[in-house]
Structure formats: structure tokens, C-alpha cells
């Protein structure tokens, strides 16, 4: 997938992975991986960026004798997901313009 397009999608995918309940790094990767390719080193900057933007917060909790970071979505993160959903209609309109006249394989 095109890197620019993927960047926006991944932000939304990460937010959506923590939308219903808090989650941790490896679980987020496992949740998203079936849909879009993501690795540890891709996720890290996304989490940092979303945290800096006030979309999520991090808390450290103890899990089976070690520390694990849990990510919690903030209202700004939910707002961004809503915005993504609304924008998607425009994206679909552009998409149907781009692929007009082509027959689906």
C-alpha cells in the first residue's frame, strides 16, 4: 500500500484498536495485522504521535511480574475516529471517480 495512504489509515486503526477497551502494544499489533501490515517499529512512532496529540494516554501496569504499558483512548482520539468515518465518504467518492469505467477483477 502507498506509504502516505497507509500512515493515515494506521493512525485510525490504532485508535480503533483501543476504542472499546484499553490495550497494550503487542495486542494492538495482533488486532490490526490481519487488515494492514504493521510492525513494532511502525507502531511505536504512531503511539508517540497520538499521545503527543492528546488522542490517547499511557499508563504502566504490572502484568505477571513485569511492567506493561496500556493505552487508553481520550475524547480527542474518539473525535479523530469520527472525523475519519466522515472523511471516508469523500474518499469513497474520489475512489469511485478514479476507478470509473473499470471492471472489477
Amino acid at each position: 500500500m502507498d506509504i502516505q495512504m497507509k500512515r493515515g489509515l494506521l493512525d485510525a486503526a490504532v485508535l480503533s484498536a483501543i476504542r472499546d477497551k484499553d490495550s497494550w502494544g503487542y495486542q494492538i499489533i495482533k488486532d490490526i495485522k490481519p487488515y494492514v501490515d504493521i510492525s513494532e517499529s511502525t507502531l511505536y512512532p504512531i503511539l508517540r504521535r497520538l499521545e503527543a496529540a492528546g488522542c490517547l494516554t499511557v499508563r504502566t501496569e504490572e502484568y505477571s511480574g513485569r511492567l506493561r504499558k496500556y493505552y487508553h483512548i481520550l475524547p480527542a482520539g474518539r473525535a479523530r475516529l469520527d472525523a475519519f468515518r466522515d472523511e471516508w465518504k469523500e474518499v469513497l467518492a474520489v475512489y469511485s471517480y478514479i476507478v470509473r469505467g473499470e471492471t472489477a477483477p
Partner: protein, 273 residues
């Protein structure tokens, strides 16, 4: 490659980053490897899945440089070697590794300077903090807290059964019994709060936990002292020596409290994020 090798290689590659950023990256990859191992991978596989430390570090440094560029100007400093403008909190240029020698310009700056070793030492110190194996200690804390809760549960049951006794009413023991019930219930609630704080890794958790050890200790000391003095000096019941049971409990409390205090003092950084 083992987890330790991976992390120390990564730490080495990230030495140009500010301490806090490097430590955060290391914690993140540490957790990832642990989670993969919990998921059934061997250590070797888990490390391999995360990637080559050089490539991982490259990714982190690139992302860091990009976020530095997005930063608004003003508070940055310019690297004299490669003339990149970077955040003022950097001690090394993230692009070329040039060390910035900042003059300590206030007392707090001076105090904040590391005593020895510089940022590399500091980073490895942080990573060591995060890699303590807490398993056995966690089990001990849980045991101590639940055991105290259990003992207090027994005291409650005892008190209630005494209160239902036919000779209880009018014996003048009501106020004693109710004080006992209320303080015991409050103490159990306190233990639960201390346990939750520990589980959530709160800053005040060690303090709560230590106080939970100290409350029964102080109560015991007070009770023993009072009975010792009243019996031996006011002669109401004749001479009563300290029982082995009392001495044992006092020794136990000291033995539990001091190593716990030392342990938490050493690991204070784990609880203060």
C-alpha cells in the same frame, strides 16, 4: 540473539537520544519481546520477530529527527557540527552525535547533572530499573497482604461470635466489641486499597503497603506495653512475663518491615513515572 543482547545493542545505538526518549524506546521493545514470549515464542524467535537492533534504532532515530523538525523554532539549539536545530533538552545532536556541552547556569541545572558516566550510563541504569524481575517479590507482597486480611477476618468472626453469646449483653463489653469490629473492617478496607495501588503501580503504593505492615505492629507494641506495665507495676494480676507469642510477633514485624522498606527505597523509580 538473546533479549539482553538485543536491548544492550539497541541501547548502544540510541545513545545520541535524550535519556528519557531512549529509555522509553527500550521499555517498549523490552515489553514487545516479553509479550511475544508469553505468546509462546522462544526468546530467540521473539527477538528475531522484533528485528535487527541497528534497523530498529535507525527507525527510532529517523522518527525522532522528523519530530524534531516539526517542532516550532525558538527553544532549539543549533548543532555546531552539522548545523541542525534540535530541542534544547538534547545532550547530543540526534543527527550527528555531537555532544553539546551545556554550562550549568543554575543550582538546579547543576544538581541535575549526572555525577559520573554521562548519558550512556544513565540510559543503561534506566533499562536496568525496568528489567527487575518482580515475580517473587510480588508473590510475597500478595501473601503478606492477603494473610493479614485473612487474620483480620478471623478476628471479626471471633468478635461476632462473642457478641451473640448469651452472657454478652450487659457485660460492658459492647463498646470494646464494636470498636474491634469497626477498626478491623477499616483495616481490611485499607489493605484492599493498598493492594489495588500496588497492582496499578501508583506512586504512593509502597507507602500504603509499608503502613499496612506497620499498623498491626504498632497496635501490638501498644497492647504489649500497656499490659506489661499494668500487670507488673500495678500488680492487678501479679507478675506476667512477656509471652513467647508477643515477642515472636514483634520480631516478625521488624523482620518484615525493614527489608520491605529497603526494597522499596531502592526501586522507588519503578513507581514514579
Amino acid at each position: 540473539m538473546t533479549k539482553t543482547e538485543f536491548l544492550s545493542a539497541l541501547r548502544d545505538e540510541l545513545r545520541a537520544l535524550p535519556e528519557a526518549d531512549a529509555a522509553r524506546s527500550l521499555e517498549y521493545y523490552h515489553e514487545m519481546i516479553d509479550d511475544r514470549m508469553d505468546d509462546g515464542m522462544t526468546e530467540e524467535e521473539a527477538v528475531a520477530a522484533v528485528g535487527d537492533p541497528g534497523e530498529v534504532a535507525g527507525e527510532i532515530l529517523r522518527e525522532y529527527a522528523a519530530s524534531e523538525e516539526e517542532r516550532e523554532g525558538g527553544e532549539g539549539i543549533r548543532c555546531p557540527r552539522c548545523s541542525k536545530v534540535v530541542g534544547a533538552e538534547n545532550r547530543f545532536c540526534p543527527r550527528c552525535g555531537y555532544p553539546f556541552e551545556k554550562e550549568p547556569n543554575s543550582v538546579s541545572d547543576h544538581l541535575a547533572e549526572p555525577k559520573a558516566g554521562g548519558p550512556i550510563e544513565a540510559i543503561s541504569h534506566n533499562a536496568r530499573e525496568a528489567s527487575y524481575d518482580l515475580r517473587w517479590y510480588r508473590a510475597l507482597i500478595w501473601f503478606v497482604i492477603w494473610f493479614q486480611a485473612f487474620l483480620n477476618g478471623l478476628v471479626l468472626i471471633d468478635t461476632f461470635s462473642a457478641m451473640t453469646d448469651s452472657s454478652f449483653a450487659g457485660s460492658g463489653a459492647e463498646s470494646w466489641a464494636w470498636t474491634n469490629v469497626i477498626t478491623t473492617v477499616l483495616y481490611i478496607v485499607y489493605l484492599v486499597i493498598a493492594r489495588r495501588a500496588l497492582a496499578r503501580w501508583k506512586k504512593h503504593a509502597p507507602c500504603l503497603y509499608l503502613i499496612s505492615l506497620f499498623i498491626p505492629f504498632l497496635a501490638r507494641v501498644a497492647a504489649v506495653t500497656v499490659s506489661y506495665i499494668t500487670c507488673n507495676y500495678f500488680g492487678a494480676f501479679g507478675f506476667i512475663p512477656l509471652s513467647a507469642d508477643d515477642i515472636f510477633q514483634l520480631v516478625e514485624a521488624v523482620v518484615l518491615f525493614i527489608p520491605n522498606l529497603i526494597y522499596f527505597r531502592k526501586r522507588a523509580a519503578l513507581f514514579t513515572e
